[in-house]
Amino acid sequence: MKAFTTHTGIVVPLDRANVDTDMIIPKQFLKSIKRTGFGPYLFDELRYLDKGEPDMDCANRPLNDDFVLNQADYSEGSVLLSRQNFGCGSSREHAPWALEDYGFRCLLAPSFADIFFNNCFKNGILPIELPEEQVDQLFAAVNAQAGFALSIDLEQQVVSLPDGSTISFEVDSFRKHCLLNGLDDIALTLEDAPSITAFEEQHRIRMPWLFS
């Protein structure tokens, strides 16, 4: 996994609540057996005017000019700002794969859906929950200034604005550790293999029908 330490990037405002994983990456692209290549189809139904299919060459597809990713000011964006309950719906990890493949490294919203939130940390993306008022202020700032960028420092747990002001944020210490170091958590868990084996032996005695 790609480590996340600090990141500075243009903020893309996606001003809607309950952005679901079907919206982030529609199901026809889930037929892929790979982890990569989903970026061109990120937000496919919002981004293009035609119906997307796997392996389509997106260079020639008609764009929805009203959609934020198609606007010149945001074409280099790598920080996504959105509203509450971002990532709701299915458990598809294709959603963070698509965001990451497109180039997003950090997501800001008042709240995230649980499974999506967890999936982000496995893919080098930092989702940050901020209070509603701060999200409102960020939307206002992004809309007022083309090229509005934020700097995110995971170690310090701080988001810095262009005017020098900062917003601090919370992050689970284990997830922070894994993200800062780009760690594979399977390897970490397997360091605990003796505990798993010991638990399993006891579990087998308590609930033998699970092992018959």
């Binding site: 001003d15 809607r16 609540a17 309950n18 679901d20 079907d22 919206m23 529609p26 199901k27 026809q28 889930l30 037929k31 892929s32 057996i33 790979k34 982890r35 139904e45 119906k51 796997p54 392996d55 509203r83 509450q84 309950n85 709701c88 719906g89 299915s90 458990s91 598809r92 990890e93 963070p96 709240s111 859906a113 649980d114 499974i115 967890n118 999936n119 496995k122 893919n123 689970d172 210490s173 284990f174 594979d184 958590d185 399977i186 868990t189 397997l190 605990d192 293999a193 505990s195 798993i196 638990f199 399993e200 579990h203 308590r206 609930m207 033998p208 029908w209 699970l210 092992f211 018959s212």
Partner: protein, 475 residues
């Protein structure tokens, strides 16, 4: 000391280790695997040179991509017309064959939607921890189990370590008191709950459903309720074990027998919240207040009673919510103030992990029997949840009732719930659907989904529009 909730008990019984930072390793008893969220996990295992920790804890089947027409299904894997889907399903077959994982392949009569097949086979049982790379894994919580969806990285993690890295969730109880009125089903109950608490209302919680109205449901009805816990934001939904749960599990192919059965039942009877358990949040709903529900927007929380009108966005004071309502109505081609009964219907889908079990098909067939699908309905289809549900329905003659009325009777799979196969809506089409998500494009690009119970979907097919099932019964 306060008693424990069902979730607390299941957590404690599976806790391998607890770290100071709040994360824990939880032992997983059962992993269900399907073709869409597993190929990258198998590949990850292979690249890292790892083997599954306990092969027998995994059970696989293709469901999301499988075609549902008998023409395509009759030739098994080779018959799948969509080449990309065929590759994905073959990849699952190859991975399972290589590792020795039990798989119900496309031509196995036990194949079906993973959340229908798990309980049907006794592969998912009370007291278990159950995961699957699918958010509707919450379904299995209906048996008094801790079951939830996980991402593909976690699928790989569970394969390799038999454990999940997790943080303990908070406890929430949704208590449905009283008795459901005639014509009101488990589906209406969960839609009303989501309407009440919202699609993020359960975020961060393990959600237990309780109260007399929940106890009165059949185990299949309880599965419908737990299935949609995720639509209220809760990864896991669960219901306490009672005699109905135990009776349901008895005699299933993978259920324990003999002495092990007795031992299991004794343990399963403890899979209930203690009387003095404390929940972080309690929501109480009166069953009598619930009418048949229809979603009118593009989120499951945008739902109302069949007798309601669609809300006016202008009356909404919160700007983000007003904006959501306006967008939803624009997408759905509907207007605020419009009676829900006036929403047009073009297609009808009866199926999905929410409502494709035998009781669902019986409820729909009862409404359909002796009637004909309305002429404005271009497609009405019934997709059983598994090959065994299909067989059971056919043995009861339900297929003949549906076909005589003008429905298509299909082969088992996820089908139009998420339209990964050929079953889908065209832009602008409205669908009365027994599935779980009405997101934009979910059932097909530009499609408009209205979530309802099987009886309400059947009634919509016959009437050609949404009708109050309670009135239909009296006619």
């Amino acid at each position: 000391m306060a008693g424990k909730t069902l979730y607390d008990k299941l957590w404690d019984q599976h806790l391998v280790s607890q770290r100071d930072d709040g994360t824990a390793l939880i032992y997983i008893d059962r992993q269900l695997i399907h073709e869409v969220t597993s190929p990258q996990a198998f590949e990850g295992l292979r690249i890292a040179g790892r083997k599954p920790w306990r092969v027998a804890s995994n059970i696989a089947m293709p469901d999301h991509n499988v075609p549902t027409t008998s023409k395509e299904r009759s030739a098994g894997l080779a018959g799948i017309a969509d080449q990309v889907s065929r590759v994905q399903i073959k990849t699952l077959d190859d991975n399972c064959d290589e590792l020795g994982i039990t798989e119900f392949k496309i031509d196995d009569r036990r194949q079906g939607i993973v959340h229908v097949v798990g309980p049907e086979q006794g592969a998912t049982l009370p007291g278990m921890t159950i995961v699957c790379g699918d958010s509707h894994t919450s379904t299995h919580g209906a048996l008094g189990a801790l079951a939830h969806g996980i991402g593909t990285s976690e699928v790989e993690h569970v394969m390799a370590t038999q454990c999940l890295l997790a943080r303990k969730m908070k406890n929430m109880l949704v208590r449905v008191d009283g008795e459901l009125r005639r014509g009101v089903t488990a589906k209406d109950m969960i839609l009303a709950i989501i309407g009440e608490i919202g699609t993020a209302g359960g975020t961060g919680y393990a959600l237990e459903f309780g109260g007399d109205a929940i106890k009165a449901l059949s185990v299949e009805g309880r599965m419908t309720v737990c299935n949609m816990a995720i639509e209220a934001g809760a990864r896991a939904g669960m219901i306490a074990v009672d005699q109905k749960t135990i009776d349901y599990c008895q005699g299933r192919p993978m259920s324990p027998t003999g002495e092990l059965w007795d031992q299991a039942v004794e343990a399963w009877r403890e899979c209930v919240s203690d009387d003095d358990a404390v929940f972080d949040k309690v929501v109480v709903i009166k069953a009598e207040d619930i009418a048949p529900q229809v979603t009118w927007g593009s989120s499951p929380e945008l739902v109302g009673a069949i007798t309601d009108r669609i809300p006016e966005p202008a009356n909404e004071s919160d700007p983000t919510r007003r904006n959501s309502l306006e967008r939803a109505l624009e997408y759905m081609g509907l207007e605020g103030g419009q009676p829900i009964k006036n929403i047009p219907v073009n297609k009808v889908f009866i199926g999905s992990c929410t409502n494709s079990r035998i009781e669902d098909l019986r409820a729909a067939a009862e409404v359909v029997e002796g009637h004909t699908v309305a002429s404005n309905i271009t497609l009405a289809m019934v997709v059983p949840g598994s090959g065994l549900v299909q067989e059971q329905a056919e043995s009861e003659g339900l297929d003949k009732i549906f076909v005589a009325a003008g429905f298509e009777w299909r082969e088992p799979g996820c089908s139009m719930c998420l339209a990964m196969n050929a079953d889908r809506l065209e832009p602008g089409e409205h669908c009365a659907s027994t599935s779980n998500r009405n997101f934009e494009g979910r059932q097909g690009f530009g499609g408009r989904s209205h979530l309802v119970s099987p009886a309400m979907a059947a009634a919509a097919a016959i009437a050609g529009r949404f009708v109050d099932i309670r009135e239909m019964g009296e006619a």
